[in-house]
C-alpha cells in the first residue's frame, strides 16, 4: 500500500518545550490511523504542522511521494488535506452553507440559493445529514462536527485529520461518526484519528501510532495489539484507572436540592425543577453532555448563582440564597472547574492555599508568613504537590495546580464536596490522583457531587448516577444497574423519567 502522507523526523519546539521530537509518521492510502497519546504528548502539534498551522523546526513532509512545504492551511487544502480542529473552527453567526464555502466560493458575488444547493448536494454525496441554511450557533456539537467534516470534504480533502472528535459527543453520536468514517474510508478517504481513548482505537482504526512526551513509541497494526498493550505504551505502565471498589451504606442527607430552578447568563432557564439528595458517604454522579446546565448547577450549589426557585439544604441547614461564604461555612467545598480561574497565578502556592482563610493566619494587622508557609508545607506533603510553597502558582503544571485546589478545599474537611469536571485536561496520572482523593472523601463520610462529561469517570466512581439534559434531571439510577448505552440515550434526551429524590 502506498503512503499518501509521510512525515520524517519532525521536530517542533515551543520555547523550552519540545512538542515533537524527530517524529516519523506515515499514513497509508485509505486507512484510518489513530494518533494515540496522553494530553501534552504532541498529537495536536504534529497534525497542526501537517495542516500548515505550525511550521516544523526540522523534518520533511512528503505528500504522494513529493516533498512539500506547507506554509498555511491554504497549501494543505491544495494538497487535499483537511483538518477538523479540536475547538471547531466555525463561525457561529453564519449559516452552515456559508461556513462550508468560506474561502472556497469561486466567484466574487455570492448567490445564496446556488451555494445552499451545492452544499446540500455535497452533503448528500458524502452522506452527511445537515441543513445547509441552519445557523451554526444553533446546532448541537455533533451537528457542528458534521459541518466541519463536510467543510473539509467540500474542499476535496483526500486526507482527513480529526482531533479528538469524540471528546464532546454522546455515545450515539460517536456511533454515527464511526459509521460516516467507515463509509468515507470505503470511498478512498484516508483518516488521521487523534484520541486518547483506547476503545475507540480498537473500534475504528487500522493502525495506531503512539506518542509519548513528543516521541513516537511505536506504530502497530490495530489487529495485532490490545488495549492493555496500548495503555502500556501510552503511559509507560501497565494499568490505570481508579474506581469505587466497595459499595457503602449511604448515610443521612448531606445536600438536598428541592425544586431547584436557576437561569443562565442569558437569563434563560438553565436548571428546571431539580430534586436530588446527596447522602453522606456516597458519590452522586451527574452525567450529561456539556452545556446542559452543569456549570449552572455547580455555581448554584456553591452560592455563586442564586436560584430563582427551590431550596438548598446542607444537612439540616437551609442555605438558599446565601453567599459563597455562607455555603463554605455550612460545609460545602467546591473544586473550581476552571483551574486557572480558581487560582491567582501571580501569588505563591502558600498564598493560594491560605487565600480563603487568611483570618486564621493574621496576627494583629499583619499576616503571619511563617504560619502560612508551615501550613502550606503540611498540605504539600499530604497532597503530594510537586512545588515549593513560595513558587508562583502559574509555574505549576495542570495536575499540580489541581492538587493545590483540592488541598485548599479538602483540608477543611467539608461535609459536601462539589466536583465539577475535576479531571478535565489532566493526564492519566493526575486523573487517578484526583479520583482517589474523591473516593477518600466518600470514605471519610462526605457527600460528593461529581459533575462530569466523562462517562467512564461517572461509571467508575459514582454510587448513583443522575443524568442532566437541558437543565432537567432525566434519569437517576444506581451505578450497578447503569450501562453506557442507557446513560447515552438519556444524555441525548431520547429517554426521560420524572426524578424526585428528596
Amino acid at each position: 500500500m502506498d503512503n499518501i502522507i509521510e512525515m520524517q523526523a519532525i521536530t517542533k519546539r515551543f520555547g523550552p518545550v519540545i512538542a515533537n521530537r524527530e517524529v516519523n509518521f506515515s499514513l497509508r492510502q485509505g486507512e484510518v490511523h489513530a494518533l494515540l497519546g496522553e494530553n501534552g504528548a504532541g498529537k495536536t502539534t504534529l497534525m497542526r504542522i501537517l495542516y500548515g498551522l505550525y511550521h516544523p523546526d526540522e523534518g520533511m513532509i512528503f505528500v504522494r511521494q513529493q516533498a512539500v512545504r506547507i506554509h498555511s492551511p491554504k497549501d494543505a487544502i491544495a494538497l487535499g488535506i483537511g483538518m477538523v480542529t479540536q475547538h471547531f473552527a466555525l463561525v457561529p453567526t453564519l449559516s452552515v452553507a456559508e461556513n462550508v464555502v468560506l474561502g472556497f466560493t469561486g466567484s466574487f458575488r455570492l448567490r445564496y440559493a446556488e451555494i445552499e444547493e451545492q452544499v446540500a448536494a455535497a452533503a448528500l454525496r458524502f452522506g452527511i445529514d445537515i441543513d445547509p441554511s441552519a445557523i451554526v450557533g444553533n446546532l448541537s456539537v455533533g451537528q457542528r462536527q458534521r459541518v466541519e467534516i463536510l467543510k473539509a470534504l467540500y474542499r476535496n480533502a483526500k486526507v482527513l485529520i480529526l482531533d479528538e472528535p469524540t471528546a464532546v459527543l454522546t455515545p450515539q453520536e460517536v456511533d454515527a461518526l464511526f459509521e460516516t468514517l467507515r463509509r468515507l474510508q470505503k470511498e478512498g478517504l484516508s483518516v488521521v484519528f487523534i484520541t486518547h481513548k483506547l476503545d475507540e482505537v480498537m473500534a475504528i482504526t487500522d493502525r495506531v501510532t503512539v506518542l509519548r512526551d513528543g516521541q513516537v513509541i511505536e506504530t502497530v497494526e490495530t489487529a495485532h495489539t490490545s488495549p492493555s498493550a496500548l495503555a502500556r505504551m501510552m503511559v509507560g505502565r501497565e494499568t490505570f484507572g481508579v474506581s469505587r471498589r466497595s459499595s457503602m451504606e449511604a448515610g443521612a442527607p448531606a445536600l438536598q436540592m428541592v425544586g431547584l430552578h436557576a437561569l443562565d447568563d442569558q437569563n434563560m432557564p438553565a436548571l428546571k425543577n431539580i430534586n436530588l439528595t446527596v447522602r453522606h458517604g456516597e458519590i452522586l454522579g451527574i452525567a450529561g453532555v456539556g452545556g446542559n446546565g452543569q456549570r449552572e448547577l455547580a455555581e448554584t450549589l456553591s452560592g455563586v448563582r442564586p436560584p430563582t426557585a427551590g431550596r438548598i439544604l446542607v444537612g439540616e441547614h437551609d442555605v438558599t440564597g446565601g453567599s459563597p461564604a455562607d455555603f463554605t461555612a455550612a460545609g460545602v467545598g467546591r473544586i473550581p472547574s476552571d483551574r486557572h480561574k480558581g487560582v491567582v497565578g501571580e501569588l505563591s502556592v502558600a498564598e493560594n492555599l491560605t487565600l480563603e482563610r487568611l483570618m486564621e493566619f493574621t496576627k494583629g494587622m499583619t499576616l503571619d508568613r511563617a504560619a502560612m508557609l508551615a501550613y502550606a508545607e503540611d498540605l504539600i506533603a499530604q497532597f503530594q504537590i510537586k512545588a515549593r510553597p513560595t513558587d508562583p502558582i502559574r509555574t505549576l503544571s495542570g495536575g499540580n495546580m489541581q492538587k493545590v485546589l483540592l488541598a485548599r478545599v479538602l483540608a477543611r474537611n467539608p461535609k459536601v464536596v462539589i466536583a465539577p469536571q475535576p479531571t478535565r485536561g489532566l493526564d492519566i496520572g493526575a486523573t487517578d490522583y484526583v479520583r482517589e482523593q474523591l473516593l477518600a472523601q466518600r470514605k471519610r463520610g462526605a457527600g460528593v457531587l461529581l459533575i462530569s462529561e466523562d462517562l467512564d469517570e461517572i461509571l467508575a466512581l459514582s454510587d448513583r448516577i443522575a443524568v442532566i439534559y437541558e437543565g432537567e434531571i432525566v434519569g437517576l439510577l444506581p451505578a450497578q444497574e447503569a450501562t453506557a448505552e442507557q446513560l447515552g440515550l438519556m444524555m441525548a434526551g431520547a429517554v426521560k423519567e420524572e426524578v424526585n429524590d428528596v
Partner: protein, 305 residues
C-alpha cells in the same frame, strides 16, 4: 412646513460626514478591528483635502488625495494592530494623536502667518428637482451626499452580505481561527478592511472642509469620529441601521443650530443646545447598546501560536 423641509435637508447634509466615517468604521469592526484612529483620520482627511484643493485648485484632486491619505492611515493602523498585534485601543488612540498633530503642524507651516483663516470655494450643491415644492429644497444637496446615501451605504451592505469578500470579512470579525483554517489569509482581509475604512473616514473629513465649510479649522471634526463609533454600535454593525443613527444625530444637530439661530431668550446658556446631539446619541446608544451583538473577535489580535 418650510421649517420641516429645511430641517430635513440640513439633516442629510450634517449626517453625510458622520455617515461616511461610520460606514468606514463598520468595515473595520466587522473585521474585528476597533479603529479609534477614526477621529484623527477624519481630521487628516479634512486637512489633506483642503490643502491639496487649495494648491491645485481642484476640489476633486483634494478629495482623491484625502481618500488616499485615509487609506494609508488605515494601513498604518493595520501594521500596528494586525501585524504587530498592538492593543487596538493603544494603536487607535496613538493614530488619532499622530494624525491630529501632524495635520495641525502642517497647517501652521502652510497657513500660520495669515491674518484671516484661509478658505476655498467649496463644492456646489445640486438641485435636481428645481423649484418643485418640498422636493426642490429637499433635493438641494452636495453630490457627495447623494453618493453617500445612494451608493456608499447600499454598496457596503451588498459587499458585506452578498460577496465572497464580505463573507470572509464578517467571518474574520467573528472567528479568525475558522477563516485561517479555511485557507484564507486573515491578515489580508483585515488590512483590506482597514484600508477601505480609512478611505471612507478621510472622505468624511474631507466632506467637511471641501463641501460643508470650504475651510479648515482646528475644531472642524470636533468629536464626529467618536460619535461615528457610537453610531456603529447603535446600528448593530449594519450599514442601513447605522444610516438611521446618523440621521438621528444629524437631525438633532440641525435642530439645535436652528434653535440657536432663533435667538430665543431662554434661561439656559446656548452651549446646552450644542450638547443636545451628543446627549441624544448617548441616549440612543444606551437604549440600543444593550442588545448590541459585538463581532466576537473585536479587539483581539490574531495569532496562530
Amino acid at each position: 412646513m418650510d421649517f420641516i423641509v429645511s430641517l430635513s435637508a440640513a439633516t442629510l447634509r450634517v449626517a453625510t460626514s458622520i455617515l461616511l466615517a461610520a460606514i468606514g468604521e463598520t468595515y473595520t469592526e466587522r473585521a474585528g478591528v476597533l479603529n479609534l484612529g477614526i477621529e484623527g483620520t477624519m481630521f487628516f482627511g479634512a486637512f489633506v483635502g483642503f490643502y491639496v484643493a487649495d494648491i491645485s485648485g481642484s476640489l476633486w484632486s483634494g478629495l482623491l488625495a484625502a481618500i488616499i491619505s485615509g487609506i494609508l492611515a488605515g494601513l498604518l493602523m493595520a501594521l500596528f494592530s494586525v501585524s504587530f498585534g498592538v492593543n487596538q485601543h493603544v494603536s487607535g488612540l496613538g493614530l488619532t494623536l499622530l494624525l491630529s498633530g501632524l495635520s495641525l503642524y502642517a497647517f501652521r507651516l502652510r497657513y500660520g502667518g495669515l491674518a484671516t483663516p484661509p478658505s476655498i470655494e467649496p463644492f456646489p450643491q445640486l438641485r435636481p428637482f428645481g423649484d418643485l415644492p418640498i422636493l426642490g429644497p429637499l433635493s438641494e444637496q452636495y453630490l457627495l451626499t447623494y453618493l453617500t446615501f445612494l451608493v456608499i451605504v447600499p454598496l457596503a451592505w451588498w459587499i458585506l452580505y452578498y460577496t465572497d469578500f464580505g463573507l470572509k470579512l464578517r467571518a474574520v470579525g467573528e472567528n479568525p481561527e475558522a477563516v485561517d483554517a479555511a485557507g484564507v489569509n486573515v491578515y489580508a482581509i483585515r488590512y483590506a478592511a482597514l484600508a477601505i475604512g480609512g478611505g471612507l473616514m478621510a472622505a468624511g473629513g474631507a466632506f467637511l472642509s471641501l463641501a460643508q465649510l470650504g475651510a479648515f479649522t482646528h475644531g472642524i471634526v470636533s468629536g464626529r469620529g467618536w460619535v461615528a463609533i457610537a453610531l456603529v454600535i447603535f446600528g448593530n454593525w449594519d450599514p442601513f441601521k447605522v444610516t438611521l443613527g446618523s440621521l438621528i444625530f444629524g437631525g438633532t444637530f440641525a435642530l439645535q443650530l436652528r434653535l440657536q439661530a432663533m435667538g430665543l431668550q431662554l434661561p439656559i446658556p446656548y452651549e446646552t443646545f450644542l450638547a443636545l446631539p451628543y446627549l441624544v446619541t448617548i441616549l440612543a446608544l444606551v437604549l440600543a447598546g444593550r442588545n448590541a451583538s459585538y463581532p466576537a473577535a473585536l479587539l483581539k489580535p490574531y495569532r496562530r501560536e
